[in-house]
């Protein structure tokens, strides 16, 4: 029986060889086609060098390209930022994405964003954070960073600064460290944050002395003393100065949300409004740090129909433009106003969608067109 089988196989050997060759050819062509497709998708042309046309050079937005996968969408987002008349963007560059294992870097996504942004003539303020799994204990969030890992974070920040020399001139270290949520659900600790600055700042400067380091990025909050959720931003900033932070940052990053009040509403320590930025500035001045500038790296208004901190859509437009104007006319100590958030990769189906300037499918919202009109006036 086995011999009969062998004979039959021998008879069809030529046919089997042909079939195998055809299958192999199909596989090779399929693989080549796939590579070609990937090359085509990944290599969206950067296009010619552009410049931003605007009459207010402080206009900016916080883009949200971290989880945007498709290169053409990254490019389109940044084109639309330029076309709106905003020369500044803040973008998040997660440490975990760039260094998935110690010392092994994958810069592809960061390259994509930075190359397209700079080609559009945008100035990138890079927000660094998001701890890789290998740099934190199990069962902690990516916002948890032990002091033992400050050198590892410093090494990443230095690599980042070196790699993007000439392209990225500003980096923000961490985000809203005065909130427990953003501090890995630990009790907030200004001194530990200062210790982080002390570790990371010199490493960045050694790698690229031209980079300006932003610190703070504090959440505006009226949390009472001892709150497990966070610390009042004014108190936190003062505690930073008390801990010697002044020597370890160049620019203060400010978060300035207006909630339901107009941008001209006077500031007060017990009120969260847009001009709370002036109180943070005063803390800088009081601590002899008035020569430094500040940047608003998050902020703005929301027009969700059911969120309690929202305003009407028309008010959002008025307030946003007025805030850009206020910064330009009255705040010489402020370099940029980057409002949250230009566009999300997908609709959040919550109040968050009503912070955006452009819908997920790139349809410009009226606020986008009105800011564009203001910028081109």
């Amino acid at each position: 029986m086995a011999y009969q089988l062998r004979d039959k196989l021998a008879q069809h050997r030529f046919t089997i060889r042909n079939i195998a060759a055809i299958v192999a050819l199909i596989l090779v062509l399929g693989w080549l086609g796939q590579r070609l497709y990937i090359w085509y998708v990944v290599n969206v042309p950067l296009g010619p060098q552009r410049t931003v046309s605007t009459h207010n050079p402080k206009i900016g937005v916080h883009t949200r390209l971290t989880d945007e996968v498709e290169p053409w969408k990254i490019k389109r987002s940044l084109e639309m930022v330029r076309e709106m008349g905003a020369p500044w963007i803040v973008e998040y560059f997660p440490w975990a994405y760039a260094e998935p294992s110690p010392g092994r870097y994958d810069w592809r996504h960061h390259d994509l964003v930075i190359n397209h942004a700079t080609r559009q003539g945008l100035t990138v303020i890079a927000r660094l954070g998001f701890v890789p799994e290998w740099a934190r204990p199990a069962e902690t969030t990516p916002l948890y960073l032990d002091e033992a890992q400050f050198p590892a974070f410093a090494a990443f920040a230095a690599e980042f600064a070196k790699r993007y020399a000439g392209k990225v001139h500003y980096v923000i270290l961490w985000n809203e460290p005065n909130l427990s949520l953003e501090w890995g659900y630990q009790p907030v600790d200004p001194q530990k944050y200062v210790a982080m600055l002390r570790a990371v700042y010199p490493a960045i400067k050694a790698a690229n002395p031209d980079v300006q380091v932003l610190a703070g990025a504090l959440a505006p909050t009226l949390a009472p003393p001892g709150s497990p959720d966070g610390m009042n931003d004014l108190a936190y900033l003062q505690a930073m100065y008390d801990g010697g932070a002044a020597a370890y940052f160049d620019i203060l990053a400010i978060h300035a949300y207006g909630w339901y009040s107009e941008p001209d509403e006077p500031p007060a320590p017990d009120v969260v409004n847009f001009r709370r930025a002036e109180l943070l500035r005063q803390v800088m001045v009081d601590n002899g740090d008035g020569a430094k500038s500040a940047m608003i790296t998050e902020g703005g208004w929301n027009d969700h129909p059911r969120w309690t901190r929202a305003v009407r859509p028309g008010q959002r437009i008025q307030y946003t433009i007025r805030a850009y104007e206020l910064a330009q006319e009255s705040w010489p100590w402020l370099d940029a106003v980057c409002f949250w958030a230009f566009r999300y990769p997908w609709d959040a189906k919550s109040y968050q969608d009503y912070f955006t300037f452009v819908s997920g499918d790139f349809e410009p919202k009226p606020i986008y067109l009105e800011v564009q009109r203001y910028a081109q006036e």
Binding site: A2, R306, W346, K365, P366, I367, L369
Partner: protein, 295 residues
């Protein structure tokens, strides 16, 4: 004859002989494996025939339907002066529960936590002007929409404007910055030469058409339109929804009997006119509520 040519001693037969004593065991194992594979990979439609819906069974056993909502969004849901949840969604939940012969238990939850609450089984359903989210369909099942709060073109009764194609050269009122404004600007970009008249509030846009007739049409959300209609404004929607914003009932993804029961109930309520009656009953009360809370 060579040894291996004998059928009784060929390879397959040797194998069969070796496993002969275990054939029933092997068959049983194969059958079990097949059942396991079928159980986990059967299509949802087939799975429903075999799997029990614990959410529905518990609901039936307790006689209570736990409905999550954020009671802060009139006319769909809010708290009356005594702190009791009222509104269109509350009434709709009651209508559905009545058809099932169970009580409704309203569970107040912040809007952004409603999805998690249904996923974790804290509640049986969400009924809270809740939008459909295509990203969450692996975790949450959604009913068909019971209301679309999206943007429509609205005109006066008897207007010659029947659709956006008739807007050439017309004045169209919108709330400045709203979705209606966005749709109006989109229509302009698409080549329809309409003129947008922007107002601070949707009510002022409605007044421009109904009271002063200074515009020809409106681009407004369906809630504003319904409220105006219930209050007597002679307005109609012209054409389809231009920017959809559907409200749905969200349920656990495995609660197939509950999903079926909700689908049937909504169909019945739509067919017998109850949904329209609920709109009339509740959408006209928005302004009452707003004025009552004004300082």
């Amino acid at each position: 004859m060579r040894k291996n040519d004998h059928p009784a001693t060929s390879m397959p037969n040797q194998l069969m002989q070796r496993f002969q004593p275990y054939r029933w065991l092997l068959l049983t194992l194969l059958l079990l494996l097949g059942l396991v594979i079928t159980w986990f990979f059967m299509p949802p439609g087939v799975a429903r025939l075999f799997r029990r819906d614990l959410t529905w069974q518990t609901l039936q056993a307790n006689g209570v339907w736990r409905v999550g909502m954020d009671p802060s969004f009139p006319p769909f849901e809010w708290l009356d002066d005594s702190g009791k949840p009222v509104g269109y969604d509350v009434a709709l939940a009651q209508q559905i529960a009545d058809r099932w012969g169970v009580q409704v238990e309203i569970v107040a939850i912040g809007f952004d936590s409603l999805g998690d609450a249904v996923r974790t089984g804290r509640i049986d359903s969400v009924l809270s002007a809740f939008p459909y989210d295509e990203r969450l369909t692996r975790d949450i099942a959604y009913s068909a929409p019971y209301f679309d709060a999206g943007i429509v073109l609205a005109t006066s009764v008897g207007s010659p404007i029947q659709s956006v194609d008739d807007l050439s050269g017309r004045q169209v009122a919108v709330e400045w910055g709203s979705m209606g404004d966005m749709v109006g600007r989109r229509l302009q970009r698409e080549g329809i030469p309409l003129q947008l008249a922007q107002f601070d509030t949707p009510d002022n846009a409605v007044s421009a058409l109904v009271e002063t007739q200074s515009v020809d049409a409106l681009l407004i959300d369906q809630v504003t339109l319904r409220v105006a209609q219930v209050q007597g404004a002679p307005l109609v929607a012209a054409g389809p929804v231009l920017e959809s914003n559907s409200y749905v009932i969200a349920m656990p993804v495995n609660a197939h009997e509950l999903q079926e029961a909700v689908a049937q109930a909504l169909e019945t309520l739509r067919g017998d006119g109850t949904l329209v009656a609920l709109e009339r009953a509740w959408f006209g009360r928005t302004k009452e509520r707003v004025s009552a809370t004004d300082p």
